[in-house]
Symmetry: C2
Subunit: 126 residues, 2 copies
């Protein structure tokens, strides 16, 4: 149903095999909408703030573009996760919308989920 | 992972058993975001324009509200499907964003996908 757009999981690791983070990529919807990719990410908190997320994000964008995807969309970026929001903005994403009160944060209560998007038809480093 | 929010599939049928349409409902995301429902719908084209979609939609909203969901979100309403967009607007949904060129329409080419949303904390019939 995904019209040939591939799925992929990647792992970022140190030379000694320590896993720093992971990402998985796949079409956000099926059929005639499968040319928009989505991805989800995990970074080990012990290695936070060291550029692991950025390195994985850059790799994911380049991979998706090379695989023929036309855009990438994140469906649920917690608006209070300002580090993630800033990272994705710096990699060319914009907030298309914020779904109100869509995430029940353990500290902040109901907060919004950003839907973030970027085209892959222009240069990744722009 | 869905924190107790139920999934459900319903079928709309005539007394003689003719299936007119279906809907399935479930959390749009897991864990701390599972209080927002989503749903997908099919109506047999032979019974289009007879209010089947509206009847199913009204049922789905009432069910989701009764199940404790706080909102409902549709992730991919094709913007050229003006009948569907008008139906959901009449049932209280608004377009949060339109993902550009996210659907490859067989006639119109790349068109947008609306992300539509409504709160369930107010009256369903408002």
């Amino acid at each position: 149903m995904d019209a040939g757009f591939p799925r992929r999981t990647v792992v970022a690791a140190e030379v000694d095999g320590t896993v720093l983070g992971t990402a998985k990529m796949h079409p956000n919807h099926g059929g005639p909408a499968s040319h928009v990719a989505t991805a989800s990410f995990m970074v080990d908190p012990r290695y936070g703030g060291k550029g692991v997320g950025r390195a994985i994000g850059e790799h994911v964008l380049a991979w998706a573009r090379g695989a023929g995807y036309r855009a990438m969309q994140f469906n649920a970026v917690v608006e209070t996760n300002t580090g993630a929001v800033a990272l994705w903005r710096s990699l060319g994403f914009e907030v298309l919308a914020t779904v109100p009160e869509a995430f029940n944060h353990p500290i902040h209560g109901y907060v919004g989920l950003h839907i973030m998007h970027r085209s892959l038809l222009r240069q990744i480093d722009s």
